[in-house]
């Protein structure tokens, strides 16, 4: 539990919005150890999603360093970043972002298409079973409830067997009962040894994590 799998040192992110320079994140230090479940909370505009996107290599920091498994990410070319995203990180989005013409099974399999590898035997069934989606295998997204769609999105993030799952407001579009079920699922995944970083508005649910990090105005104020 002591080995750090991901760390950020002094990372900042600024955007240009019209003539205005927006500092979304200011010199943040962050790390997560293997098997840790971290919730990031904070008001809107505090920079929590930006932090998650930077850690997930979905965009590049304006300054600062990010290391994954001790490897410096700054300066890496796109193919190396893609490789790291494929191998180490699974991403879950608030809006699910499922492809509407693909079935539940195909949506879950989608990352395998890009990683050009086949899942180990039984992996897809294992993931669907874990998420309680086996009976929905051939359904299309529009035939699913919000909770089911988010579970498909989680399945998609798990299929490549990443070391860490990052979720950006995963319950933002769900009712409270379903949100709790999703967090229970995250707890279950964490109990299986998976590291998780979850960004949420819901402080109650955030409390289910092993560590809560609070952000305000682009900086960490607690955790």
């Amino acid at each position: 539990m002591n080995n750090v799998i991901m760390s950020a040192k002094g990372i900042s992110k600024s955007y240009q919005r019209g003539s205005e320079q927006v500092h979304a994140l200011r010199e943040v230090d962050f790390s997560i150890k293997a098997g840790e479940f971290v919730s990031i909370v904070g008001p809107s505009g505090s920079g929590k999603s930006t932090l998650l996107h930077l850690l997930g290599l979905l965009e590049t920091p304006s300054s600062g360093k990010i290391q994954i498994d001790g490897r410096e990410m700054r300066g890496l070319k796109e193919p190396d970043l893609v490789k790291t995203r494929r191998g180490s990180i699974g991403f879950v989005f608030q809006q699910f972002l499922l492809l509407p013409t693909l079935t539940v099974r195909e949506n879950i399999e989608l990352p395998l298409l890009f990683s050009k590898r086949t899942a180990r035997p039984g992996r897809i069934a294992e993931v669907m079973d874990l998420l309680g989606l086996s009976a929905r295998s051939n359904h299309l997204p529009h035939q699913l409830s919000g909770g089911e769609m988010q579970r498909v999105s989680i399945g998609r993030s798990l299929i490549n067997e990443p070391r860490i799952i990052m979720a950006d407001e995963p319950t933002g579009n769900l009712d409270s009962a379903t949100s709790e079920k999703i967090f229970t699922l995250f707890k279950k995944l964490n109990a299986g040894g998976l590291s998780l970083i979850i960004v949420t508005h819901n402080t109650e649910l955030a409390g289910m994590a092993t560590r809560v990090v609070k952000l305000r105005d682009g900086g960490i104020v607690a955790g």
Binding site: H53, G56, L58, E59, T60, E78, P79, V82, R85, R86, G90, F91, F93, L97, L99, P100, T101, L102, E106, E109, L110, P111, L113, F114, S115, R156, S157, N160
Partner: protein, 389 residues
Amino acid sequence: MNIFSLATKNLLRRRVRTGLTVAGVAIAIAVLFSLLSFNAGYERQLSGELGSLGIHMLAVPKGCPYEAASLIIHGGVIPKYLSYSDLEQVAKIDGIEIASPMLLHQFFKDDKPHIVYGINIEEQKELKPWWKIEGRYFNEDEPGVMIVGRGLAEKENLKVGQVLEFGPDEVPTTIVGILERTGNQDDEFHFLPLAATQRIFGKEGQLTTVAIKARDVSRIAEIAKKLEEIADIQVVTMTQVMGTIMNLVGSAQALLFSVIIIALFISAVGIMNTLIMSVNERTREFGMMKAVGASGGDVSRLIIIETLIITLIGCGVGLIVALLGSKLVESFVRGVIPYSPTGELISIDPSLVFICIGFALAIGLLCSIYPAVKCARLTPMEAMRSDLE
């Protein structure tokens, strides 16, 4: 699941838009294929028609415009004539194997033009050894007889032995033979002995042209030069005829090709517009794909494959439409251009199919490169936040 099935499913999401884009490509390819086929077929038929004359050059009256002289082979009538002394001078030139005099006359029956060729039958049989006849040929000085082309016979329901009243004086003339189908302009003509034609139409001693066959094709230029020295004669070689006719139809062809280019341009712009719209709408999806492990190349490949599927299906549909509609295009084009050889003008050549497929692929690639490159360069979050422009 593979990238092709993913691309196909993406396309099926917006069936109407995909269908309309396919239709746009299909129309462009159908027009391109039809016009290229027509161009190839026209030149081949024209060349075949000139070859089927069995002659190397025509001696025509001086001052006769090339265009008119060129149209003689298709039954065009010119208002100037050669004399028998011109014929004698032509026949004396060394290197000429056959110098066959002809008188052409055109008359109208039921508002339809009919072409009469006054010929020396024995010389024509030598020039056109492929002629075969139902019935018999007429003799050189036989009065009141004629042979007709197969196409004309079928159109007018003419039979061997039938007697027609011919010319301004309605001279009874018996059809003694009907030519077997030649596939060229001869199928549409009346052929009479030269002297009889001159008599019937009041052109005694007058000739429209002298068809010349050289003994040796390498001497055509030399013979043409000698012919030009005869005061009343100008020479049109078959190469010149071909060139003149191609020039005549050139302007019509230029117009048609302009139409194609505009059609193709509009189609390409339409495809690009559809594609960019489709990519714009799905930018967030592409961002998601990148977030779950797709590289810029994977996203580009998906966009390019989607476009190629559209253009290749459009190409296939366009080719089928062009093949099914070739007769329609042929009749339309015949109405537009000033000179059409007989026979099928649309030539379906496999190489043209490959040209059209190549063209469709080129359009597809051209239209997909911009959105594909643009999308590939975005970071996952840029893609999820923004729209392409």
